[in-house]
């Protein structure tokens, strides 16, 4: 097994490093995406980023720039406080999702790209990560990680109790906007190589695993990152040895890891109920 991993790292060093970086940062941000109950934002921003990449490729601009510009435009729209409005944020996300997904396919169908390029654009392929992709990932993810760790407290308070946070001197609108901007740029950078599905998987599946297992925020974040790294390693290994599509294999590995947490969570829930009854 170690020989296979060594061979994998030697053959595709960029894919391994990029995979681990995308996994860690997306899983970390995903914890807050789930807690904020904006799960749909992950897949929508991924689709919007893919659409931006398609536009950039058609107009011969750098793909990352196209993805970031369109994603940030969507973030600016979504930052509008929908809490007390008749149209919920989820409905706007749904509309943007439908528009971005359709537009991506329409744009690439008119582009004259080959099937492989279209597949890579729409679904991504971690194994094809280039040195340039890795540079973009590093340049975006390390500051994103630093931002997140440095400003976790105001971000958490803004999410946890918006009004109380405002009264205490936190500016919830600002911190929410900054979080979604970091999320948007991260997703735009990750989508080019990881594709919509894998980015969404990192944002949702593995943080869910961590939330089932732990009730302490720091532990949830650490568990989410460990699980994401494990899913990536298992997926890359299985994909390399059995010649399977990389991204989808990692997604299945992530779901298998999540499945492991379900019985643990169920047992814990039953025990808690039992203890509560005993106390009563």
């Amino acid at each position: 097994m170690i020989a296979v991993f060594t061979s994998l790292i030697q053959s595709f060093p960029q894919a391994v490093v990029a995979g681990l970086l995308v996994a860690s940062v997306c899983a970390l941000l995903g914890v807050f995406v789930i807690l904020k109950r904006v799960v749909f934002i992950g897949i929508t921003l991924s689709e919007i980023a893919a659409c931006g990449v398609a536009i950039a490729m058609l107009t011969r601009q750098p793909p990352f720039v196209g993805g970031v510009v369109l994603t940030l435009a969507a973030v600016a729209l979504l930052a509008y406080p929908f809490e007390n409005r008749r149209i919920p944020r989820d409905a706007v996300l749904g509309v943007l999702f439908v528009l971005a997904s359709s537009l991506s396919v329409l744009l690439v169908s008119q582009s004259g790209f080959g099937l492989q390029e279209i597949k890579a654009l729409l679904y991504g392929d971690l194994i094809l990560t280039s040195h340039a992709d890795l540079c973009v990932i590093g340049a975006v993810f390390l500051p994103a990680l630093l931002y997140f760790l440095l400003f976790m407290r105001p971000t958490l308070y803004a999410f946890l109790d918006r009004e109380a946070a405002y009264v205490l001197g936190v500016r919830p609108a600002l911190w929410e906007m900054l979080f979604f901007m970091v999320l948007g740029i991260t997703i735009a950078a990750a989508s080019k190589i990881a594709g919509t599905l894998l980015v969404f998987c990192y944002l949702i599946v593995l943080p869910t695993f961590a939330l089932i297992l732990s009730r302490q925020l720091w532990l949830v974040m650490i568990l989410a990152v460990i699980a994401a790294v494990a899913a990536t390693a298992i997926g890359l290994y299985a994909s390399f040895t059995a010649d399977l599509p990389t991204n989808q294999t990692i997604c299945v590995a992530a779901c298998a890891i999540l499945a492991l947490a379900v019985p643990v969570g169920t047992v814990r829930y039953v025990l808690r109920r039992f203890r509560k009854k005993e106390v009563a």
């Binding site: 009004e163 205490l168 939330l211 925020l217």
Partner: protein, 223 residues
């Protein structure tokens, strides 16, 4: 003050002296919460000015509803520590004295044994007590509380109201409290603030009690 085109309160002219305990009473939907939210700066008045001392020290705020999503894996202690944000800022950890203050606040509201529990594991009353403890540790000069005892049992309600009355009389803190119990409100302070029909006025508690005895309060204030 208004929500969109719907005007809730108008011609409000209110001066609240420091060190006052002022209960806000009125029927559901009268605008008590709107008025308190406006004082907190959460709602901008359509016209006019609200002057507060909150630039010096943020108020201790206890919201009406269960404002914290039970999904969050944060402990009761972490919720109470949130009240220390004005002193701690973005990065600092609570020092010994601040941790002691949190312990005392947890103890005062009977949460010492539940400090490690998450929001989802607390009952409605305990969550409300956690929010009260959070307001208390903030070291605020002004406390603004919107129905802070609505989820509490009778004994806890009495203790909480007594505690904030003492804070006012012994430490000179200002306490603004939207309260559902007209009888209790009259007993809490010398003056009460009646909110109804979009208007706000201060009434002496003695007069309110006299009105209540004559059953006039329903006519004068609540209808």
């Amino acid at each position: 003050m208004a929500y969109g085109r719907q005007e809730v309160l108008h011609d409000v002219c209110l001066e609240i002296r420091a060190g006052t305990l002022l209960p806000f009473i009125g029927p559901n939907g009268a605008g008590k919460t709107t008025l308190l939210r406006a004082i907190l700066g959460l709602l901008k008045p359509r016209c006019g000015v609200i002057r507060t001392p909150f630039h010096r020290s943020p108020p201790g705020y206890v919201p009406q509803q269960q404002s914290i999503d039970p999904l969050y894996p944060v402990s009761t202690r972490q919720i109470v520590e949130m009240g220390l944000f004005p002193q701690l800022g973005w990065w600092r950890r609570p020092n010994g004295a601040q941790r002691k203050m949190v312990d005392e606040a947890l103890e005062r509201f009977g949460l010492a044994g539940h400090a490690a529990k998450t929001v989802g594991e607390l009952s409605g009353g305990m969550r409300q007590k956690a929010l009260l403890a959070r307001a208390l540790v903030s070291g605020a000069e002004v406390f603004i509380m919107d129905e802070p005892t609505s989820e509490l049992d009778e004994q806890s309600e009495k203790e909480v109201l007594e505690h904030f009355t003492r804070l006012c009389s012994e430490q000179g803190k200002t306490v603004l409290i939207a309260h559902h119990g007209i009888h209790d409100a009259g007993a809490l302070a010398a003056q009460v603030c009646l909110v109804n029909h979009g208007r706000v006025r201060l009434v002496s508690a003695d007069r309110m009690r006299a009105d209540m005895a004559d059953s006039k309060l329903e006519r004068t204030a609540l209808l």
